[in-house]
């Protein structure tokens, strides 16, 4: 009963935040609401015993994302532009959501030992993490050792994304310096031309 109350409270809170975020047009409120959504989702992950995921969600979703969005807010207008609801995306979103709700019935019970995900490689990982690798946190041993290639790929994705974002931002912000360079170039060519004309 207690567990049910906690789950119901967190899910209801998530739904309320989502609905309020849809109706709000002030971007600052929207950023704070998305941070609150992430924090509530992190609490939900703790209830589901996924502490590593909860940790990441709280640090990235509620922390750094909110700060980055706030930093971006200083560059954009205060309010969202008013716009009508686009019919096609709305239909696709509602249809996908309805299909997902229907398919919930086919999912195995939460925590069921005979669920497909728990009978494939997971038993090897769980027993091997302690016996072969000697790391008590199974998440870390799967992330860094069993699935080392995936994590390498993720790190390279973060690396590539950062380089791309920094290049986009730097390409714009260098404009004043480039203009100064061009002015200097123009000035120097003018000097050369003047000297040539003088000589001619």
């Amino acid at each position: 009963m207690g567990m049910f109350a906690v789950n119901a409270f967190l899910l209801l809170l998530l739904a309320i935040i989502a609905v309020v975020a849809l109706r709000v047009h002030r971007l600052f409120t929207l950023v704070i609401l998305s941070g609150a959504f992430s924090l509530t989702a992190a609490a939900q992950f703790v209830v589901l015993d996924a502490v590593d995921v909860a940790f990441t969600e709280a640090a990235v979703g509620a922390g750094i994302s909110t700060v980055l969005a706030l930093a971006t807010l200083s560059l954009v207008p205060r309010e969202e532009k008013p716009h009508a609801i686009a019919p096609l995306p709305a239909i696709i979103a509602v249809a996908t959501g309805a299909l997902l709700m229907v398919s919930i019935g086919d999912l195995p019970q939460f925590g069921a030992a005979d669920a497909p995900v728990h009978v494939h490689v997971a038993p090897d990982y769980i027993s091997g993490s302690a016996e072969k690798i000697g790391v008590p946190n199974v998440v870390t041993s799967v992330l860094a050792s069993y699935r080392g290639y995936d994590t390498l790929g993720e790190t390279v994705v973060i690396f590539t994304a950062a380089i791309a974002v920094l290049l986009i931002l730097a390409g714009w912000t260098r404009a004043p310096y480039r203009r100064e360079d061009e002015d200097q170039n123009r000035a120097s060519t003018r000097n050369i031309r003047d000297k040539q004309e003088d000589a001619g």
Partner: protein
């Protein structure tokens, strides 16, 4: 915010504690929740707090942008280099068992190295992105100032022509 003594003092107390907590999350990830991703973000949060409270300019003096760029690359190189090391030791890429004679110690070493690589990359990326976004405001002011100067220059030269 930079003039508020309460915020300044609290930030000064908090920033080292946040950094220490990030290192704990980084190197205790084998035993408890945590690891490179979370530690990197927490470490970045300390530097972002520094920038928010004491200003972007001073934060960039403490932690120049080139540190971020070096950190972003060094993390990936450390991760990939651990794989190359295991290849040089005669095993497959990222097979940590070859790193040391004792298998569990070898796995510990490998996980520690790659997690530190992840943490380095994530922390540097987060700080770099925050500096880049927050720095845009300064740059936009600079662009506006340059444009205003140029407009003033052309006006002055036109007046000179007229005279």
């Amino acid at each position: 915010m930079q003039d508020d003594p309460v915020i300044r003092v609290v930030a000064k107390v908090l920033i080292p504690a946040i950094m220490l907590f990030a290192l704990y999350v980084q190197f205790h990830g084998d035993y408890g929740p945590g690891g490179g991703f979370q530690a990197g973000v927490i470490f970045a949060a300390a530097l972002v707090l520094n920038a928010v409270v004491f200003g972007l300019h001073r934060a960039r003096q403490v932690w120049p942008m080139r540190y971020n760029l070096m950190g972003v690359s060094a993390g990936v190189v450390l991760y990939g280099g651990t794989g190359v090391w295991s290849m040089l030791a005669g095993a497959n890429y990222l097979d940590y068992f070859a790193l040391k004679a004792d298998p569990k110690a070898a796995q510990h070493l490998g996980i520690l190295l790659v997690e530190f690589g992840v943490g380095l990359t994530v922390a540097s990326v987060m700080v770099a992105l925050f500096f880049a976004f927050a720095g845009r405001l300064t740059h936009i002011r600079l662009v506006a100032k340059t444009a205003a100067h140029e407009a003033a220059d052309t006006d002055a030269s036109r007046e000179g022509d007229a005279a």
